[in-house]
């Protein structure tokens, strides 16, 4: 059992470690198959900023992903709360219809969605970037399922105390559901930070470039320097790994609530 788990862990880690090590090495050393950290990190970084608009891409990604995460979590947690706390037959039926949207492949909506975005003059904008992820059935479901663990008596008590419904949501629900929010933030931020197809379609101008597009272009541009590419990949991966390591503890809890 330990052997199997160790192999699985090693295979999971190897590509990541190799990418980080390669980011510190010169191309010639990587081609020789070095597995030791090198001293070429600064040179790789300079070359990367020469070749690409790294700062802009990083800022764009950070801004887009942060705003998309914040807004979609507000919208979807309100909805999950609404579906569960005030549930009725009609609302349950609507929820099952909304869940069907999870079955719609992005390819089936991307062309009309592109036209919609273009008609609203939202190409190359953060709002355009956010449109498809502002509300997702998955996130609503995550909040709805987890809301089942939220004690109804707390709501009744708060109502008797004269709190209105929005205050109950903001002051009692949000602080209680920290782990659900953490799971939702992790999933949504990872998704929006890494999304590739949608910005490939709508973020056309070079000024609106995001990190996934930057590293993809680096590859397509036949930059034959492994070290530079792996440094770009490492930089593009850091924010999500850091976020995950902070929210990891809550993440598992939040996910558990979803499948109960």
């Amino acid at each position: 059992m330990y052997v199997f788990l160790s192999i699985a862990a090693a295979l999971s880690l190897f590509p990541l470690i190799w990418a980080v090590i390669s980011a510190t090495n010169a191309n010639t050393d990587i081609l020789r198959g070095t597995m030791l950290p090198g001293t070429h990190l600064i040179q790789n970084f300079n070359r990367l900023t020469e070749l690409t608009d790294l700062g802009r891409a990083f800022w764009n990604s950070a801004r887009n992903a942060t705003m998309a995460t914040f807004i979609s979590i507000v919208i979807c947690s309100l909805a999950g709360y609404g579906f569960e706390i005030y549930h009725s037959k009609a609302k349950d039926r609507l929820m099952s219809v909304l869940l069907l949207s999870m079955m719609i492949p992005f390819a089936a909506v991307m062309i009309p969605l592109f036209q919609l975005t273009a008609n609203l003059s939202l190409l190359n904008t953060t709002l355009g970037f956010m449109l498809p992820t502002l509300s997702t059935a998955f996130l609503i479901m995550l909040f709805r399922q987890n809301t089942r663990t939220f004690p109804q008596e707390m709501i009744e008590a708060a109502r008797i105390d004269g709190l209105n419904e929005i205050s109950i949501f903001l002051r009692m629900y949000v602080p209680t559901m920290k782990s659900t929010y953490a799971a939702a933030i992790t999933i949504t931020f990872m998704g929006t930070w890494n999304v590739f197809l949608w910005p490939r379609i709508i973020m056309i101008s070079p000024e609106s470039i995001t990190m996934p597009i930057l590293i993809s272009n680096l590859m397509a541009g036949y930059v034959a320097d492994f070290g530079v590419i792996m440094l770009a990949v490492t930089i593009a991966t850091l924010p999500t790994i850091v976020l995950f390591s902070f929210l990891q503890r809550y993440f598992a809890e939040g996910m558990t609530g979803t499948i109960k």
């Binding site: 699985a8 198959g33 909506v109 197809l197």
Partner: protein, 297 residues
């Protein structure tokens, strides 16, 4: 008495309305961003032409894709990925999860975090790492030659089957831990004493796995099967960044093909929409079959 009842109903109605207000934005957005474009896309699929000069063409696009060898190739590629990757990943995820769930395992947290870690890496990012690792002068060939498995470097992206294999390896690396977390969460709801009772009754590990673990996890397995099927049918990032769809189009996915038809070169909006509706059909049909099987057993 009568009055009190009326008041209560009024309160319930009011709360019902507040509930609708809470969920209305989210519901409206899903309708506008998912269902409406899907409907529009279907209308496009019945049209041919470029830009503003679109005209109704009936089922012309659908007839065209039936005879299009390129489209057929990308369909069979995608289904190959699906047929190999999804079952292997589910089995691997289940094995890993039940190992991590055993009571006296040490370093539990370390193993769990490590195996989940690939899920924090973006699809484009990991595609590029795999592309470099399997390059002709990449680390995989170097290691294989150093150990003595190979004499000359192998061009992994040079043949159809090895290119497809690498996409599958990539998908397995990226997603197994994700599924494992779901199973682990499900397993933690099982009382350990059930396993102890089974052990006392003489059930071996495999029997415990088949008789306890699988039945309890069935709804979660169903959920992950549907999600993975859906995800693999929509494969795009890996096809573009890991193999570039090559050699030729032998590893290209359906979504990659549709993207090219719609957004590269002369836009073929009608034809691309028809192809995307075929994916929708596949996703729907497979989800339906999976739900039927999942319910029956």
């Amino acid at each position: 008495m009568e009055q009190k009842k009326g008041f209560k109903l009024g309160l319930n109605q009011k709360q019902g309305l507040i509930g609708w207000a809470f969920l209305s934005v989210a519901a409206a957005l899903i309708i506008v961003m998912n269902f409406y474009p899907m409907f529009r896309g279907f209308l496009f699929s019945l049209q041919t032409g470029v830009g503003a000069n679109m005209e109704y063409a009936g089922l012309f696009n659908y007839r065209r894709l039936l005879e299009d060898p390129q489209f057929r190739q990308t369909v069979s590629n995608t289904f190959f990925y699906l047929a190999v990757q999804v079952p292997v990943m589910i089995v691997l995820g289940l094995i890993l999860a039940s190992m991590l769930n055993s009571k006296n395992l040490k370093f539990k947290g370390f193993f769990r975090t490590t195996i989940f870690l690939p899920c924090t890496v973006g699809l484009v990012a990991y595609s590029l790492v795999f592309r470099q690792m399997f390059a002709v002068s990449g680390i995989v060939n170097t290691i294989a030659m150093n150990i003595g498995i190979m004499d000359t470097p192998f061009n992994w992206f040079g043949t159809a089957w090895s290119a497809r294999l690498i996409i599958i390896l990539g998908l397995l690396w990226r997603w197994t831990g994700f599924n494992m977390i779901f199973y682990l969460a499900g397993l933690q709801n099982i009382d350990q004493s059930i396993y102890e009772a089974a052990r006392i009754d003489g059930a071996n590990v495999l029997q415990q796995f088949r008789r306890i673990t699988i039945p309890v996890l069935r709804p979660i397995i169903l959920l992950t099967a549907i999600m993975s099927t859906n995800g693999t049918l929509q494969l795009f990032d890996e096809s573009v960044n890991l193999t570039g769809g090559g050699p030729g189009i032998t590893s290209r996915s359906m979504s990659h093909h549709i993207f090219n038809a719609a957004f590269q070169g002369i836009p073929q909006i009608g034809y691309a929409s028809a192809m995307s509706f075929v994916i929708l059909l596949f996703v729907g049909t497979l989800a339906f079959i999976q739900i039927k099987i999942g319910d029956k057993r």
